[in-house]
C-alpha cells in the first residue's frame, strides 16, 4: 500500500471540537448539575487516501468523536470542515448533500442492520434518501455492484441480515457506507465484534477498497495492533483529548507521551519468546471520570512522571525538544516499549 504524500489535499479538518453532555436532574423541569466532557478540544486533519487511526481506552471519547464527525451528535463548540463546508452549521438540503461525503461503518454487525429489511433494501436505502445519486431504474444494478465490490454474492439481494454471518454482515455495512461514493469513511471499531479468523478478511477488504476507490479513513479502535496494521497516522486519546499524534512509526516505535507508552506496553504480543523481555509499564488505578477531569494534565493522576507543573499547567499538543511529533506532555521523551529491550 502506498503511503499518501504529506501534501495531499486535506479532506477533513476539525478545529477545537468539543462535545459536553449535560448531566441533569429531574424529568419535566431539568436542571443542569454538571457536564461529561466526552470530547474536549480536538484538532485533526485527514488527507486524501490516508488512514488516521484513533486509539484510546473506553471512555476516552473516541466513539463520541466518530458520532460528531458523521453528524449523529451536534458539537458543543468547534468546527468540522469537509471540502470547505462547516458541517455542524449546515442544515436542510445542504446538510443532506454534505452527508454524502462522509459515512460510517459501525461496530456491531448484529445491531447495525435493520432485521426486517432485505439486504437490497438496506444497501439501497442511501439511494432512497438521496435520489439524485442514482436514478430509480439503476438502483438494483448499483446495489448488486456494491455487493460484488465487498465480496458478497450479488444474488443475495433478497436475503435478510440474519441469514448472514457476522463478517458478512459487516461487509453489508461497508457496502451501505460506500453507496453514496463518499470520500471519507469513519470506521468505529469495525472488527472488534468479529472472530479472530474473520477480522483479517474485513481488514484486508477495507485496505483494498481504499486503494481502489481512493478513500480516506478515520479508523477508531481499541486494538492497537489492528490500528498499527491499517493506519498511516495515529492519534492517541485520553479523557476527551488527543495526547499524542504522529505517523505510525513515530507512535509505535518512539512514543513520547507516558500514556501512549503505558498503553503500548500493556498490549500483549503473540510471541512467547518476548515474554519478560519487553518494558512493561503497569498503570495504577482507573481512568478518572470525564465529568470531573483532573486539573492541568489529565493523565497526571496515574503518571509516574507527574510534577507540580502538571497540575497547574495543561501541556499543549506540540512538537517538543525530545519529541519530533506533537505530544501533550511537559516531560515528553522517547521510550521503546513495543520491542524487546536488552
Amino acid at each position: 500500500m502506498s503511503r499518501p504524500s504529506a501534501d495531499a489535499e486535506v479532506v477533513l479538518e476539525t478545529r477545537g471540537l468539543v462535545k459536553h453532555f449535560p448531566i441533569t436532574r429531574g424529568i419535566v423541569f431539568k436542571t443542569k448539575v454538571g457536564a461529561v466532557r466526552a470530547v474536549d478540544g480536538i484538532d485533526l486533519q485527514l488527507r486524501r487516501g490516508e488512514t488516521l487511526g484513533v486509539v484510546g481506552e473506553s471512555g476516552c471519547g473516541k466513539s463520541t468523536l466518530a458520532k460528531l464527525l458523521v453528524g449523529l451528535e451536534k458539537p458543543t463548540a468547534g468546527s468540522i470542515n469537509v471540502r470547505g463546508q462547516d458541517m455542524p452549521r449546515l442544515s436542510g438540503a445542504a446538510l443532506r448533500r454534505a452527508r454524502r461525503n462522509i459515512q460510517m461503518v459501525m461496530q456491531d454487525p448484529y445491531t447495525s442492520l435493520n432485521p426486517r429489511m432485505t439486504v437490497g433494501d438496506i444497501i439501497g436505502e442511501p439511494f432512497d434518501i438521496h435520489p439524485e445519486v442514482a436514478p430509480r431504474g439503476e438502483r438494483k444494478r448499483r446495489v448488486q455492484e456494491l455487493l460484488d465490490l465487498v465480496g458478497l454474492n450479488p444474488e443475495h439481494i433478497n436475503r435478510y441480515p440474519h441469514q448472514f454471518s457476522g463478517g458478512q454482515r459487516q461487509r453489508i455495512g461497508i457496502a451501505r457506507a460506500l453507496a453514496l461514493r463518499p470520500e471519507i469513511i469513519v470506521c468505529d471499531e469495525p472488527v472488534s465484534a468479529l472472530d479472530v479468523s474473520i477480522q483479517a478478511q474485513v481488514i484486508n477488504l477495507l485496505e483494498s477498497l481504499q486503494d481502489e476507490l481512493g478513500l480516506s479513513y478515520i479508523f477508531i479502535a481499541h486494538d492497537l495492533s489492528v490500528v498499527r496494521h491499517i493506519a498511516d497516522r495515529v492519534a492517541v486519546m485520553y479523557l476527551g483529548k488527543i495526547v499524542e499524534i504522529g505517523t505510525e512509526d513515530q507512535i509505535y516505535d518512539s512514543p513520547t507521551h507516558p500514556y501512549t507508552q503505558a498503553l503500548l506496553s500493556a498490549v500483549p504480543v503473540p510471541d512467547p519468546t518476548l515474554r519478560g523481555q519487553r518494558d512493561q509499564i503497569v498503570l495504577e488505578g482507573d481512568v478518572p471520570s470525564p465529568a470531573n477531569p483532573p486539573s492541568g494534565c489529565r493523565f497526571r493522576t496515574r503518571c509516574w512522571k507527574a510534577q507540580e507543573i502538571c497540575a497547574e499547567q495543561e501541556p499543549a499538543l506540540t512538537a517538543r525538544e525530545k519529541s519530533a511529533h506533537p505530544s501533550a506532555c511537559h516531560f515528553a521523551e522517547e521510550r521503546n516499549v513495543v520491542h524487546a529491550v536488552e
Partner: protein, 311 residues
C-alpha cells in the same frame, strides 16, 4: 465448496455456491415470520386457541350455520323448560331458546371487542409512538397523561361514561365501543412507548439518521416494524378483555339494551333465576369465558413465538 474463491469472497458461505453443502454455517433462508410460524406450529396451546377463535368468528358472522332457530322467538309457556329438539341448552325465563341466543350473542360480543380494540389500538399507537420517538417534554407530558388515565378505576369510569354517552333510545352499541376505546389504550401505549425507545436506540436507526433519513422514514421504516410485535400481542389480549368488559357493562345495565342479543344481557337476566334454572346463565358464561381465554392464549402464544430472546 470450491476452493477457487478470491480473497474477498472467502467468507461467502456454502449456501452461496452449493445450497446443500454440508459445510459451514449456512442456514436455510428464513424470515422472522417463518421462524415464528415454525415455533407456533408445534405449540398445542396455539392450535387450541386458534380453533376456538376461528369458531367464534364464524359464529359471529354466520350464526345461521349453527342453529336454525330464531333467537328472538320466545314463548312464556316454555319458561325454564329443559332441553328439547334443537334447543339443546333448554329455555330461559322468557321462554327463548338458550342455544340460539348464545350463538347469536357472539356477534355483538365479537363486534364490540374488535371495534373497541381497533379504536384503543389506534390511540395507543399514536401516543406511544410520539412519546417514545420524540422523547423529552413530549414524552414527559404524554407519560403523565397515561398515568392519569391509568389512575382512573376503569369499571367505574366505564359505567359513568357509558351511561352519559347513551340516550335511552339507542341500542347502547356505540357508547360501549367508545367507552372501551377511550379507557383501555394505556397498556398498549406504554408497551409501544417502551419498545419504540428500545428500537430507537438501535444502531440501524443511527445508520439511517447518518444517511440523512427524515422522521417519517425513521419511524415507519425502521422503528415501527421492529417495535410492533409486542404491541400486536397486547392488542389480542386486550380484545379478550374488551369482550369480557362489554359483558360486565351489559350485566350492570349500562351496556347493550332492549332487543339486542348478547352474552352480557343473557347472563344479566338469567342471574336472577340462577337457583331455579342455572342453564341459561351457565351456557353464555361458558362461551364468554372460552372466547376471552382463547384470545388471551392466542396472544400469549404469538408473543412467545415472536420473541427472539426465548429462542
Amino acid at each position: 465448496m470450491s476452493n477457487v474463491e478470491s480473497v474477498t469472497q472467502a467468507e461467502t458461505p456454502a449456501a452461496a455456491t452449493a445450497p446443500n453443502g454440508g459445510d459451514g454455517g449456512a442456514e436455510k433462508p428464513r424470515s422472522l415470520a417463518s421462524d415464528a410460524w415454525r415455533d407456533l406450529r408445534r405449540n398445542w396451546i396455539f392450535w387450541v386457541a386458534a380453533v376456538l377463535v376461528v369458531l367464534v368468528v364464524v359464529m359471529a358472522a354466520f350464526p345461521g350455520l349453527f342453529t336454525s332457530a330464531d333467537p328472538s322467538f320466545c314463548q312464556l309457556s316454555r319458561q325454564h323448560a329443559g332441553p328439547s329438539g334443537s334447543a339443546i341448552f333448554g329455555y330461559d325465563f322468557q321462554g327463548c331458546d338458550v342455544y340460539a341466543r348464545t350463538i347469536y350473542g357472539a356477534r355483538n360480543s365479537v363486534a364490540i371487542g374488535l371495534l373497541a380494540t381497533l379504536m384503543s389500538g389506534a390511540i395507543s399507537l399514536v401516543i406511544g409512538m410520539a412519546a417514545g420517538y420524540f422523547g423529552g417534554w413530549v414524552d414527559a407530558l404524554l407519560a403523565r397523561g397515561i398515568d392519569i388515565v391509568l389512575g382512573i378505576p376503569t369499571l367505574l369510569a366505564a359505567i359513568v361514561l357509558a351511561r352519559r354517552l347513551s340516550d335511552s333510545e339507542d341500542s347502547g352499541f356505540l357508547p360501549v365501543v367508545l367507552t372501551l376505546g377511550v379507557l383501555t389504550w394505556t397498556t398498549g401505549a406504554r408497551i409501544m412507548r417502551s419498545s419504540v425507545i428500545a428500537a430507537k436506540s438501535q444502531d440501524y436507526v443511527a445508520a439511517a439518521r447518518m444517511l440523512g433519513a427524515g422522521h417519517a422514514r425513521l419511524m415507519f421504516r425502521h422503528i415501527l416494524p421492529n417495535a410492533a410485535a409486542p404491541f400486536v400481542v397486547v392488542l389480542t389480549i386486550l380484545l379478550g378483555a374488551n369482550i369480557a368488559t362489554e359483558a360486565t357493562l351489559t350485566f350492570l345495565g349500562v351496556g347493550l339494551r332492549g332487543d339486542e342479543i348478547s352474552w352480557g344481557i343473557d347472563i344479566s337476566q338469567a342471574s336472577q333465576f340462577v337457583r331455579e334454572a342455572p342453564a341459561p346463565l351457565v351456557w353464555p358464561a361458558l362461551f364468554l369465558a372460552a372466547t376471552v381465554l382463547a384470545f388471551i392464549m392466542l396472544g400469549d402464544a404469538i408473543r412467545d413465538a415472536f420473541d427472539p430472546r426465548l429462542r
